[in-house]
Amino acid sequence: MLRTLKKLKYSVRVMLAKGGGQPETINLHGRPTVVSSGGEGPTFVYLHSTLGESFMWLPFYQTWSKSFRVLVPTHPGFGQSGGFERIDTIEDMAWHYLELFDALGLEEVILGGVSLGGWIAAEFAVRWPERVKSLWIADAPGLWVENEPLPDLFRIMQDRNKLRDVLFHDPTGHMASMIIKDNPAEEDMLTAYQSMTVLARLVWERPYNPKLAERLYRIQCPTLLVWGDHDRLVPPAYGEAYHRLIPGAKLELIKDCGHLPMFEKEGEFVETITRFCTG
């Protein structure tokens, strides 16, 4: 009952936020690239996770849009964004964002992302540090930590209960059942398959970039690492590894939170990042 009410409440917030951001399709050298934007202020680019949460303007974008001009691009291969045929590695994703920022005339941005999005942000920042004003990375893969092997998401996803267990601190909570539905519609399954295909291309053969660790020193801007203290997919040890390798970085753990802080601990997550990026 309580769970149903909470779901309803979130749906209402989604409805209210919906109009805050406008999607636009940019022709990036022939590749359609969807970018949603809303708000005014310093440019703040959010890079989404493999969930593909850029498909609509969600409440947490709306909150940020009170402080920033928020841009939420959809990665190549996700949703309606094209160009997947040119993506073979995570470096290609970083190049895609260089081209997108050039096309949008963005000299310098606040850059961040969750999970896959956070990894792309890190790969961008080591290559073009001068384009990043401040950086935040949440629950992101990209590195390899000895004795903390990443679990096999592609095996886990065969069972939706196990998937909720690995993604959420509280797999019985209302957000867990909203994000990972028990009986997804056909369209949702197709979308998920498409998203997981992009992830598979990037991580199947090696779930990290062996060059990233030795390049992280190049990041010179203020950097915040945000991690769910119960992230079972990319454990906090990975946050600690980023923390060690990025000069002057700060690490904040979110209590009782799994891999997807923007859904499981939205208030705390949004506030932590806003505070860091406005401070």
Binding site: F154, R155, Y193, T197, L199, A200, E205
Partner: protein, 381 residues
């Protein structure tokens, strides 16, 4: 009509509580369950059985490639085929097939197939496969490029067999300064190419366009074969020719005994071991391995897959296996091979835990009392 004898080389010694304890016979089934001492005896007897198929006059014998599983103990079917070249005289040796994207460089396939062709004096049938979903977990090869790599590697092999070397090869996934395989195949221009498939349109189109042969993998309802061969014939028409029966192979387990009753009694428990245990996990599909639409079609077709079957009635009505007296098997085989219009039947008499002795008895009855009477039957198409 041609009849090929197929052997999967299953592991028959899974524990009785396998189904409760393990979620898969593939990829992560602990290999402590494998016993190499028993394994030695199995290889010996399985190879004896394959060689016996040659003596009995089967047109060919088939081996295939699977990794890290209890379903089939041939991670390298080419090793078994190498042994068979020395143990057989007449039968074609069909390796169906090598999973091209798993080989780096795929020239290895062109070389080993050329070796087998020369060693067997031109009896090789070269099967080329994308490889099942579990293999991408096994070998850690990116599944999202599987189909691209398959096409490139297939072209590479055919060119390596047919064009004088050395030559330069350049494609998206492969680059070679020197393509110049030694030995070259004995059959000219190259060994026949068979491509096994489970019904994806992408594969049907490719095989039809190139005039290779499409081998329908067993374990599906007869309706699936009806659809697949109809689609194949249409694809050949679109490519400007009429499909030949020998381009279509139907995979179906067959078991023959003295009477219908005896056949079912001897066969059924071993078949269920195969269905419940060895097929568990075979359907594991990594994202990107097929197009999203194909992935959805596979999911929707799940009820036509043998693993979901629970009763013998379902097995019989869906023709997941043909089991009975010589007369019963003759009737059913004649009926369905005619209806499907296929020119090749790929059959395994051995399954699951079935003993070598019973497998050979069934092969004898099939070869002596059934096949001579159905060989000449005409296709309906």
């Amino acid at each position: 009509m041609q009849y090929y004898f197929f052997h999967l080389m299953p592991w028959p010694y899974l524990p009785a509580d396998f189904d409760e304890r393990y979620d898969s016979a593939w990829v992560w089934l602990p290999n402590s369950l494998y016993d190499p001492v028993k394994g030695h005896e199995l290889y010996k007897e399985y190879i004896n059985t394959l060689a016996y198929a040659d003596e009995l006059g089967f047109d060919g014998i088939c081996v295939n490639e699977h990794h890290q599983n209890a379903y089939g103990l041939m991670p390298s079917p080419n090793v078994i085929a190498g042994a068979l070249t020395q143990r057989t005289k007449q039968a074609k040796i069909a390796v169906v097939g090598n999973a091209l994207p798993l080989y780096n460089p795929p020239l290895r396939v062109a070389e080993e197939f050329a070796m087998l062709d020369v060693m067997s004096n031109g009896r090789l049938i070269a099967g080329m496969v994308i490889g099942g979903g579990p293999e991408y977990f096994n070998y850690g090869v990116d599944p999202t490029h599987a189909r691209e790599k398959f096409r490139e590697a297939l072209d590479l092999c055919v060119r390596a067999w047919t064009e004088p070397g050395p030559f330069v090869w350049d494609s998206k996934h492969y680059h070679f300064r020197y393509v110049n395989i030694w030995p070259r195949p004995l059959q000219q221009p190259h060994p026949p190419i068979w491509i096994p498939g489970v019904g994806s349109l992408e594969t049907i189109e490719l095989v039809a366009k190139r005039r290779y042969a499409y081998m329908g993998i067993p374990y599906f309802h007869i309706d699936v074969f009806r659809r697949v061969f109809a689609q194949f014939r249409e694809a050949c028409e679109r490519a400007g020719y009429t499909a030949q029966p020998e381009q279509m192979g139907w995979g179906v387990p067959i078991y023959v005994a003295e009477t219908d009753k005896q056949a079912r009694e001897e066969f059924e428990p071993h078949f269920w071991y195969f269905v419940k245990n060895l097929l568990k996990g075979i359907g594991l599909t990594p994202p990107g391995y097929t197009s999203p639409r194909s992935a959805l079609a596979i999911l929707k077709n799940h009820h036509n897959f043998l693993y979901t079957k629970k009763t013998w009635d379902e097995i019989e009505s869906g023709v997941y296996a043909i089991v009975g007296s010589p007369e019963t098997v003759r009737q059913k085989l004649a009926h369905y091979q005619k209806e499907l219009g296929c020119g090749v039947v790929l059959t395994g008499c051995q399954t699951g835990t079935l003993s070598h002795e019973l497998a050979r008895k069934s092969m004898e009855l099939l070869a002596r009392e059934v096949l001579p009477k159905v060989r000449g039957s005409q296709s309906a198409h």
